[in-house]
């Protein structure tokens, strides 16, 4: 039995006279205790999918199961068992840290004491501020509080919708460390995020764009499955380099990546030599071309471009 299962889920929204397809035939199977990432930009359908799985929205087509329970028929039971942290954290800003936690504990008919061990390492970081109003906490602390509130009833499945958006880089790292620890407690976690680098921290990921999944696998596997040869290219003038490469017919894709650009060629016998010649002719200096291993972001962009 899967912890979370989506079978052919589709969902459209009506906007003026147009139908916007938010989710298109989504099929997913997530195992118990997995740390599963749903990776995709804004508008890709992540929030819609999570809301459907947490029984907040009804899908137009398809079915879903959480812990073996039907998301439509058994929604009341599911709601007792899942933890949910929507975007923007949903805390009560005028209640204190402690009051928020107590409230959510009582909503689930439990007390802070009962499951304290589960949230201890998280809550301890904000405990010194327990009498502060939640509205006055920094982004990172709100995140920790919201996570504690979502865990306080020891759910078997945890849904986190973009929990790291708008939070500083250090807190983001800490948050993922906390998630890894939770896995050890046999909690299945589905996290959505627009940050590609966070994909590498998950056990498995689903890449989603414009309502469709285009890859579901372990991050390592996705990278290994990346078939084309990827090259990193540098020269003295980055901007002109990108322009020149993009206008060259031999180039399939060229994207800036920090201090170099990542290029996939169409069909060259000797990429390094031919490219160097091309760039020299364009009067580039300090040319460096080297083959590199693809990262998740490269894979995402390649798959995105392919499906366009």
């Amino acid at each position: 039995m899967f912890a979370i299962e989506a079978v052919g889920i589709s969902k459209s929204y009506r906007f003026k006279k147009q139908e916007v397809k938010a989710l298109n035939d989504i099929n997913l199977q997530i195992l118990k205790s997995e740390l599963f990432g749903l990776i995709g930009p804004d508008g890709s359908g992540k929030s819609s999918l999570i809301r459907i799985l947490t029984t907040l929205l009804l899908a137009d087509e398809g079915t879903g199961f959480v812990d073996g329970l039907d998301i439509v028929k058994d929604f009341e039971v599911i709601r007792k068992r899942v933890g949910y942290m929507p975007g923007r954290f949903s805390l009560y800003p005028d209640l204190t840290v402690e009051e928020n936690l107590q409230f959510f504990a009582s909503v689930f008919n439990t007390t802070i004491k009962e499951n304290y061990s589960l949230i201890k390492s998280i809550y301890q970081q904000i405990e010194p501020f327990k009498h502060r109003r939640a509205g006055q906490l920094s982004g990172g602390m709100k995140q920790k509080l919201a996570l504690s509130c979502a865990l306080i009833h020891r759910p078997s499945v945890l849904f986190l919708d973009e929990p790291t958006t708008g939070v500083d880089a250090v807190s983001r790292k800490e948050f993922w460390d906390m998630l890894k620890e939770l896995q050890a407690n046999e909690i299945t976690i589905l996290v959505s995020t627009p940050y590609m680098d966070e994909a590498a921290l998950c056990g498995r990921v689903a890449l989603i764009q414009e309502g469709s999944l285009f890859k579901v696998d372990k991050p390592n596997q996705i990278v290994d499955d990346f078939s084309p040869k990827l090259f990193g290219i540098r020269s003295l003038e980055m901007f002109r380099l990108i322009e020149d490469l993009k206008s060259w017919q031999a180039v399939y894709s060229c994207f800036a990546f920090g201090d170099s650009c990542h290029v996939i060629f169409k069909d060259l016998k000797d990429e390094v030599a031919e490219c160097t010649n091309y760039l020299l002719a364009k009067q580039h200096q300090n040319i460096e071309i080297f083959q590199i291993k693809a990262g998740i972001e490269d894979c995402f962009m390649y798959l995105m471009k392919k499906s366009a």
Binding site: K16, D42, S44, M141, D168, G258
Partner: protein, 248 residues
């Protein structure tokens, strides 16, 4: 002033009661630079930008933007800059063209100029068929690119971009930066804040703010070498970890 500095900041400070949001920062931005302003939330980035764009009065220190003093000539500054932020960009219930007309009008462009510019932008962004479409129905990536183009509609010498690429897909992010680099190529100076560390690499120079102070200033290469780090992200993390403000 040996070079053509578009922004000059000397000991700029902003205090809100007992809290010092921006603590004695100094830096200069040359014309045509892409200047990256990095830092965690709460480090003081947004406050600094607000002071430089004439929206907030400094507590002490000076700053000149395009030669105008931020304390006394704020209105002149506003006329000559472009501004785009992630949170606010365009009016969703107006069409693409209506937004252009509106912003063009605000900056005093004549109708002919607006029409010409609009055609240019629509062609470059491949949005010619979307001229009369409500912004609300555009995908996020297109909206962001459009917002940027509109912010430079009036050809300002300096543009402030506050976290402009949040949440968009990776391809759009790069297309966006290509637009930025193109603008820099044409001589526009761009002041960008971002929390995507790889984007720091696209900037000519970068500063990193921690607890209201500037902890690093230089080209990405210089900073990486200084901190012995392999990436800007590593540079940022090692500086940000020192922050005491994070616990607030």
């Amino acid at each position: 002033m040996p070079e053509n500095y578009l922004i000059e900041v000397h000991n700029l400070t902003k205090r809100f009661a007992a809290f010092t949001a921006v603590d004695n920062i100094s830096f200069n931005v040359k014309q045509g630079e892409i200047f990256g302003f990095l830092g965690a939330n709460g480090a003081g980035k947004t406050t600094a930008i607000k002071m430089l764009s004439g929206l907030l009065n400094p507590t002490s220190g000076d700053a000149k933007v395009i030669g105008f003093d931020v304390k006394t000539q704020a209105e002149k500054i506003k006329k000559n800059i472009g501004y785009m932020s992630q949170r606010f960009s365009l009016y969703e219930d107006l069409t693409v063209f209506e937004n252009m007309r509106f912003y063009g009008g605000i900056y005093g462009l004549r109708t002919i100029e607006i029409n010409t510019k609009a055609d240019e932008i629509l062609t470059v962004l491949n949005l010619v068929n979307e001229r009369n479409v409500l912004v609300k129905s555009l995908p996020l990536g297109w909206k962001q690119k459009l917002a940027f183009s509109i912010s430079i509609l009036h050809n300002p010498p300096l543009v402030f971009l506050d976290e402009p690429t949040g949440g968009v897909d990776p391809i759009t992010r790069r297309e966006f930066w290509e637009l930025i680099m193109e603008a820099a190529n044409r001589g526009t100076t761009l002041f960008v804040t971002t929390h995507y560390m790889d984007e720091a690499e696209y900037c000519n120079r970068v500063t990193i703010m921690v607890d209201g102070k500037i902890e690093a200033l230089g080209t990405p290469l210089e900073l990486r070498q200084q901190m012995g780090a392999s990436s800007m992200e590593a540079v940022f993390l090692s500086l940000a970890r020192k922050s005491s403000r994070r616990e607030l």
